[in-house]
């Protein structure tokens, strides 16, 4: 059986599944239930200074649903914890004492002044927590007060606050990054420069999730008005994966540990984050959608897959896909593939034809010998993968590589040598 035990910057947990700082980790009651269900660790709901903030008293969440009301994306306008600091600290201390084998990380957000950070860190140390996470991510509410993503969007601030914290405490410091920025590598480099032990990402994406067309108010609506919130859940996973990969393959931050967050809903999502370089993962929306029991699917699924693939521990999967993330200019332009339709699997919906005909390269027939029949015309197919993407049947259309002969579209012989854009004759800046 694969060993799922996780050592993330010296913080140990029985598995790599942590709950992200959010409502599921807001109180001892929730966190105890989470540990009972099997979660490896938690990042406690972000603490701030007293007087504690207040939340709106109307709806905090908005959603994007599928037809069957499956939750695809979640948006929230909640702030950090709205409970007194003392109560949170007491509960953290108690829970850590009750569950010594689980990771207990405390998320923090206080005004951008050194004394404020120093004083709260001292109080956290007293709880016996395993580490802290600096919340430079929340895109709503707190950012208007000069905290959250308004810090995370300025690399100099990240570096400065991180340095204050590292100087003030011996606890490991994780810096949580906001995705609401052009290039994620700059804040990650800043965190590293400030001495961060790790970064975690992503926090939520700034968003308006929907507009009520009767009232003309954005949702969630508070007395007829809405405010942008933070978007998370399955919909943001691709954004998060890319950002994790960008940091993992950046030569400056390649060694910086990453806690992967964003839309992780099952073991496979988690494995993908770890393959791209995350040392562990954090989950929020999946727990908020299905309850804490989802972790059992995640643990057993990851174990099963690792056993099947012969991976004995997490080290053997972390970062394994990172070297395969490259820049477009290095992709092999001599690699030729064509779509192939399996006629036995085809159910004749015709969508491959119409999308190729209307929006791509007119490379799929509609009829052959007067009969409805969908077949790829190799002379036209550019191998774009659109038909594969829209086909409703698994494995009915596949992309198959041409390894020899002549590409009937370009009439050029298939060249098995690697050639990319940097040396391509059409590139005015080609370097050979």
């Amino acid at each position: 059986m694969a060993d799922l035990s996780n050592d993330f910057i010296g913080i140990k947990s029985p598995n790599p599944f942590w709950l992200a700082s959010a409502p599921p980790t807001d109180k001892a009651y929730n966190v105890t239930r989470a540990f009972e269900a099997g979660w490896g660790g938690v990042v406690w709901k972000t603490l701030g200074e007293d007087p504690h903030i207040v939340n709106v008293n109307g709806p905090r969440y908005g959603v994007v649903h599928s037809a069957d009301r499956r939750l695809i994306g979640l948006n929230n306008i909640e702030l950090i914890t709205d409970r007194p600091l003392d109560i949170n600290l007491e509960e953290i201390k108690q829970v850590k004492r009750d569950w010594p084998d689980r990771a207990m990380v405390v998320s923090l957000m206080v005004p951008c002044e050194e004394p404020n950070w120093k004083s709260i860190l001292k109080r956290v140390e007293d709880t016996g927590a395993d580490g802290v996470e600096l919340n430079f991510g929340c895109p709503h509410g707190m950012s208007e007060r000069g905290m959250g993503s308004s810090v995370g969007q300025v690399p100099e601030y990240i570096e400065m606050v991180t340095r204050w914290c590292k100087e003030a405490t011996d606890m490991p410091v994780i810096v949580k990054l906001t995705p609401n920025i052009n290039d994620i590598r700059y804040p990650a480099r800043a965190a590293l420069a400030g001495g961060a032990d790790a970064v975690s990402l992503i926090n939520t994406v700034s968003s308006i999730v929907s507009v009520n067309l009767d009232t003309m108010s954005p949702e969630p609506s508070i007395d007829g008005k809405g405010s942008h919130g933070g978007y998370c859940g399955p919909a943001v996973k691709p954004i998060a994966l890319n950002m994790v990969a960008e940091i993992a393959r950046d030569s400056e931050t390649a060694e910086l540990p990453i806690s992967g967050i964003g839309g992780i809903s099952n073991w496979r999502d988690a494995a993908e984050f770890m393959a791209l370089g995350a040392g562990n993962v954090q989950v929020c929306t999946a727990a908020m959608t299905y309850g804490f029991k989802v972790v059992q699917e995640m643990i057993t699924g990851l174990e099963q897959w690792m056993d099947e693939k012969g991976h004995t521990d997490l080290q053997s999967i972390i970062g394994k896909a990172t070297p395969n993330v490259t820049d477009w200019q290095y992709l092999n332009l001599n690699f030729v593939s064509k779509a192939v339709i399996d006629q036995d699997k085809c159910i004749q919906c015709g969508r491959c034809h119409v999308v190729c005909e209307d929006t791509s390269h007119q490379a799929i027939t509609q009829s052959v010998d007067g009969k409805r029949h969908f077949q790829v015309i190799d002379e036209e197919c550019v191998g774009c993968n659109l038909c594969v993407s829209v086909c409703p049947v698994d494995e009915c259309i596949t992309m198959q590589q041409m390894t020899s002969g002549v590409d009937p579209r370009t009439n050029s012989p298939i060249n098995s040598e690697y050639q990319n854009w940097t040396t391509h004759p059409n590139n005015p800046m080609a370097n050979s």
């Binding site: 599928s66 037809a67 069957d68 159910i347 004749q348 015709g350 969508r351 119409v354």
Partner: protein
């Protein structure tokens, strides 16, 4: 299926309960929005099915209903009575993929119910506006599906339409001939009201062609005539005992049931034998069972695969406790006391090169009621005496549903084209109206 409780509850319970909003959204989401969709080709009226389903999906059921009505103004009834399992749903690619087609009929009902029951009944607006009056007059004979469809399309074009119908109520087979559990809550009349809501259509009931009206008169008085009189006189059975008390025609049995205010006043046997193998046989047998018959048997003279009733319909009968016996034909109906039926003698048959033949082996099935569902025929007298060309004992028409007479078009069950289905009748009426309009303008 909904729970059927209480006596006769099955008769007033929708065979397929309507979808609620969420069910419709989930089901609509299953549609792949096929290109040149096979379901559209399979629909006799050619409704743009993927489009109307997508309109449901995106929360536009009114627009969806309009898409349906554009091709089939009786889309509400068709949603209830079409054998979708042999039409659109049979062609659905999800039938191919997973043996579970998109429930096109149920979705069509969702959209049309929305339009008819909620929207239109509240606002009293009709989704179509009539064109300016053309001054042309068209006579439609028969207020069944073909006549209504034809009349509506003509009214849209601004022609003045008069419909004559022999019955007390309009609707034709929709009102009189379809099992009650397929069209509950007086839906047929509701739909007629909707169709007539466009205006420009005058309806006169109780007027029978050949008795109160002749083709000569109407061709003299109107610019064009549409004949949608359906089938009439039932194929007479010449089996011994057909005259016995307790032997009835299944079509009349269904009509009486549909018009009944009090099911307990209908006489129903304890042991009922239905002779026939089409939809009428099934409708009669299932309703007999719902009325309280203890044993109901359908006796069909040919093997199962030759039955006109679809497999789905056969299963429906079976789940209602109806026994279906194949390859048996009635030899004679046996009399008991007081000239009442006591049973049916049935002979096993075989199908060979020379067609159907008896095997001389027979048995008696006890029965106190026998319903004959052996098909209907076209009453050709009026047409024939006026000189309309017939083929296969029905009115002969061209692709535009035009008869041999330059002013007469025809459609529905009385013509020799298409299948005897509501949806084909609607299509006939529509095609005829288009052709009439072209000839009048």
């Amino acid at each position: 299926m909904q729970q059927e409780t209480g006596p006769f509850a099955g008769l007033e319970t929708d065979l397929h309960p309507p979808l609620d909003g969420h069910e419709a959204s989930v089901e609509a989401d299953r549609c792949y929005f096929c290109y040149d969709a096979p379901c559209v080709t399979a629909c006799p009226t050619g409704i743009d099915i993927p489009l109307f389903i997508r309109q449901i999906q995106t929360g536009n059921p009114s627009g969806s209903a309009k898409t349906i009505f554009d091709e089939n103004i009786l889309g509400g009834m068709c949603a209830r009575v079409c054998p979708t399992e042999t039409l659109c749903e049979q062609a659905c690619v999800r039938q191919t993929a997973e043996n579970k087609p998109v429930s096109i009929g149920a979705l069509q009902r969702y959209a049309t119910d929305h339009a008819l029951r909620n929207e239109l009944s509240e606002s009293k607006t009709h989704p179509y506006q009539r064109a300016k009056p053309t001054g042309k007059k068209v006579c439609v004979i028969g207020a069944g599906p073909s006549g209504l469809s034809c009349a509506h399309r003509l009214a849209r074009y601004g022609h003045a339409v008069t419909i004559f119908d022999a019955g007390d109520k309009p609707g034709g087979l929709n009102e009189y001939g379809i099992a009650s559990y397929k069209t509950t809550n007086n839906f047929a009349q509701e739909e007629v009201e909707f169709v007539l809501g466009i205006g420009g259509i005058t309806l006169q009931t109780g007027v029978r062609l050949g008795v109160d009206l002749s083709l000569q008169e109407v061709t003299d008085q109107y610019d064009a005539v549409f004949l949608g009189v359906g089938l009439d006189s039932v194929n007479k059975s010449n089996i011994t005992g057909s005259e016995l008390t307790g032997v009835a025609d299944a079509v009349e049995f269904i009509a009486a049931l549909r018009q009944s205010q009090d099911y307990s006043s209908l006489s129903i046997g304890r042991r009922v034998v239905v002779i026939g193998g089409g939809m009428t046989a099934i409708d009669a047998a299932v309703q007999a069972s719902m009325l309280g018959a203890e044993d109901v048997m359908i006796a069909y003279r040919r093997p199962r695969e030759k039955m006109n009733a679809s497999v789905y319909e056969q299963q429906l009968a079976q789940t209602h406790g109806v026994k279906i016996k194949h390859s048996v034909r009635p030899v004679k109906i046996i009399a008991g006391d007081d000239n009442a039926v006591a049973g049916v003698e049935l002979e096993y048959t075989t199908e060979g090169e020379g067609g159907l033949s008896g095997t001389d082996e027979s048995f008696v099935e006890n029965a106190d009621q026998v319903l004959m569902a052996i098909g209907q025929a076209f009453d050709a007298d009026a047409a024939e005496s006026f000189g309309l060309a017939l083929s296969n004992k029905r009115v002969s028409v061209d692709a535009d549903r035009k008869t041999s007479h330059e002013k007469i078009w025809a459609g529905g069950d009385c013509i020799d084209a298409g299948e005897d289905l509501t949806v084909w009748a609607v299509q006939d009426g529509k095609l005829a109206a288009e052709s009439i309009h072209r000839s009048l303008t």
